[in-house]
Amino acid sequence: MLAALFVGFAALLVVTSLMVVLHKNPVTSALFLVLAFCSLAGIYLLLRAEFLGMVQIVVYAGAIMVLFLFVIMYLNLQHDVETGLQIAVRRGIGWFVGVLMLLTGAALLKRGWALGPANEVLPGAEQGNVAAIGRVLYSRYLFPFEITSILLLVAMIGVIVIARGRSRAHAAGGGAGGGA
């Protein structure tokens, strides 16, 4: 049952990831990426990482993909025009490198690296792991957790500065601070 569910989610994940890369329309790519993230959340649930499954849906499928779609529609992009020899060569190189990476992984797997069945059921896994994650996050990983807030603050300020643009930044620099 678990294996069947895993195979289903994995197949969905691989197919949707391929569609993200192959589809010409960026909006369709973004929607397939949402589906890929949702199937990955399913796999997290199968691995008894309930908290991460929920965060995956909320943060990735929710926030990040809405940001992507917003920007795509804001820019009002037409379809990719992908023709010409240079692009064909680059595309060939890209596929070659991708297949090479896959073959490397297959070779590593064949040599017995990371083989063998996973462990049995985690102790006390029935009640979920949200409380346990919270306990670890707020004790052993408290300092990195606090640093994360600084990272987010820096990202926020950076986005505002970048998105404000050059002309208005110049105008605000001459004036009394702008207000953005």
Binding site: L2, A3, F6, A10, L13, V14, S17, L18, V20, V21, P26, S29, A30, L33, A36, F37, Y44, L46, L47, R48, A49, L52, V59, Y60, I64, F68, Y74, L75, L77, D80, I87, R90, G94, W95, M101, L102, G105, L109, A114, G116, P117, A118, N119, V121, L122, N129, A132, I133, V136, L137, P144, T148, L151, L152, A155, M156, G158, V159, I162, A163
Partner: protein
């Protein structure tokens, strides 16, 4: 239980698809989506090994990776919007300001 090797193989496949996307596509937005795919492949490996070792540290790391990914997407999309304002394109081979 799901064998660890399946999970690592799935992670490798998704990562390879992301690499192909970054190398093959010209649209900066799709390149960003492929980078997200690669980050998620790494997260899957983290969760798989955390499950295997019965440890929560891997899952905490995934939490941090997600935070960094969110910050990266916000900054990257802002840069793309800014580039589009300046150059009217998001195709990476038409943006060669630093090429000399």
């Amino acid at each position: 239980m799901i064998p660890l090797s399946w999970l690592i193989a799935l992670s490798a496949v998704v990562f390879a698809i992301g690499v192909v996307g970054v190398l093959v596509r010209r649209n900066a937005l799709v390149i960003f989506m492929s980078i997200e795919l690669m980050l998620n492949a790494a997260n899957l490996a983290f969760v798989a090994f955390a499950n295997q070792m019965k440890s929560l540290d891997g899952q905490v790391f995934v939490f941090f990776v997600m935070t960094v990914a969110a910050a990266e997407v916000a900054i990257g999309l802002a840069i793309i919007v800014h580039l589009f304002r300046l150059r009217e394109t998001v195709f990476v081979d038409e943006i060669h300001l630093l090429k000399g």
